[in-house]
Symmetry: C2
Subunit: 332 residues, 2 copies
Amino acid sequence: MRCIMLQPMNMFFGGLATMMLVCYLTWSTQGREIKRFISQQKDVLCVVSLNDTRPGLQKDDLPVIYFITPTYPRREQVAELIRLGQTLMHVPNLHWILADDSATCNPMVIDLLPRFGLPYTHLASPMPEIYRHVSIVPRGVANRRAALAWIRANIKSGVIYFGDDDNTFDLKLFKEIRDTRKVSMFPVGLIGEYSISSPILKEGKVVGFFDSWPAKRMFPVDMAGFAVNIEFLLQHPNATMPYKAGYEEDRFLRSLGLTLDQIEPKANGCTEVLVWHTQTTKRTPPVLRIDSVLDNSLKDLLQTMTYLGIGSMSDSHGVKTYATKNGKSHLL
Amino acid sequence: MRCIMLQPMNMFFGGLATMMLVCYLTWSTQGREIKRFISQQKDVLCVVSLNDTRPGLQKDDLPVIYFITPTYPRREQVAELIRLGQTLMHVPNLHWILADDSATCNPMVIDLLPRFGLPYTHLASPMPEIYRHVSIVPRGVANRRAALAWIRANIKSGVIYFGDDDNTFDLKLFKEIRDTRKVSMFPVGLIGEYSISSPILKEGKVVGFFDSWPAKRMFPVDMAGFAVNIEFLLQHPNATMPYKAGYEEDRFLRSLGLTLDQIEPKANGCTEVLVWHTQTTKRTPPVLRIDSVLDNSLKDLLQTMTYLGIGSMSDSHGVKTYATKNGKSHLL
């Protein structure tokens, strides 16, 4: 496990940031380290682990896939991350960059990540406050920008892919994107009014796009519908993603100077679906009202619940709670 | 790959069913076989595969987990099954029983199942028509009854577990339930008004339940919150699940003659959460109106879409569709 510096995104603050970077051992027994750095975003590099403890999944000749997942604290977060992590466990030479929309490093995420045996980078990358108040919030942009900054500062080659924590990824996808030379593209299922979004090919070349929200975009594609070679990314030092909801993909791809004829179609000439925009139903975590002193396993379970962010307890307000035995219930 | 008979659930029809069972080779190159049988439910045994082609995951000393998944045709079905199948791929000695609420064997499911390398049984187990018109439809009961009938007819030992296709399963769960002697129980996350449902323990024994919908149930638990040893199940030949929405778990467990002191608590004394009732947002598959003759990759992609059940095409009605190039759109 090593500690790697995250390059400040704003060069003006570069000198200041370098002086202020302090790398201190927080979880000394596990060798985890945390750094805070100054940038326009208040990003925190929580943990970097380069260990891959999965037997038989290190293959020297394969480019590494840097799988970038923007995430944010919510009731469903822990379940989503477990499910996604267990999918990624199958993929050789994959480094998971998990960027959380949170001001500080979430202990639940810190505890969760090592269990998958994957190399990973954990960033706390809160959305700047100003964007939380616009009419359509540009979710996940701060996270992806933080991940791109970490890539630019630390990585020389490989492939990046933006994979949300509620999407579904067919394992075939990873084989397809691994040999991306510049930018590869492919269909995304369960998205928009058409239920699908994809480049359209003729004689092996991209001749247009099929997407229910064209919005005059040059590249009307979903975030999950393309992968980018890192050497190609590094050739475009100013390429980035805007805080403009709906236009993140298009502007990012345009900032790479991409042209239609450079696009490498995947998924059998864009006729198969290997990634799905599944969405998880969300609910607000409850506050459970518990007046009595618990002297049983429920005490620890409810602490687990609070730690995981799926609910909390109060002795003064919230949902009335009951325990049931032999079909009879009594107030807690 | 072998063909195994499914015992008729209604003994009155037993003789008739035996006569009518016809086992014919449909996919001769792959050795897949299909049988139709007569029972109260119009169940079809689509495919049984006992092959486990996952390297290193066959362990002679482990009881087999029979993982029963009720499913039904919908826009999200294929994505859910891919995601779940990829989770189950990690689990040694697991046999996936997939029971589809469909009158016939869905070709999409037939094609999908072999790719995970798991042993599996694929059943088409449509809900009897009468239950489709009640106020609260008892979803998944026909499927689980068909799976139980297949277990009773063919399996002598192991553990059964009911795992819906949209739930999230921590891999630790499988280690916990594998040594179930009679019935094991554990918490389920993201469920009901409490966000959690669990047995309550004191000094290692179940003394009650914490569930937001007690409904005077003896066992107010979720379908994902318990596992049953197959030898114990077979000791109760009449044990079954009722077509009574909300009471399926309780009545099934009561039909096993279960008592509180027989319950084996798992997940660190019911203080951890290893299974999550994640729900996927559902939408109706669109009809895409396409008037022009397609001479590009979109033609094949839209056929894939129809085959997967995520949408369909029409030249007379439906959502107007456009192709986009260089920011300009034209009607298809």
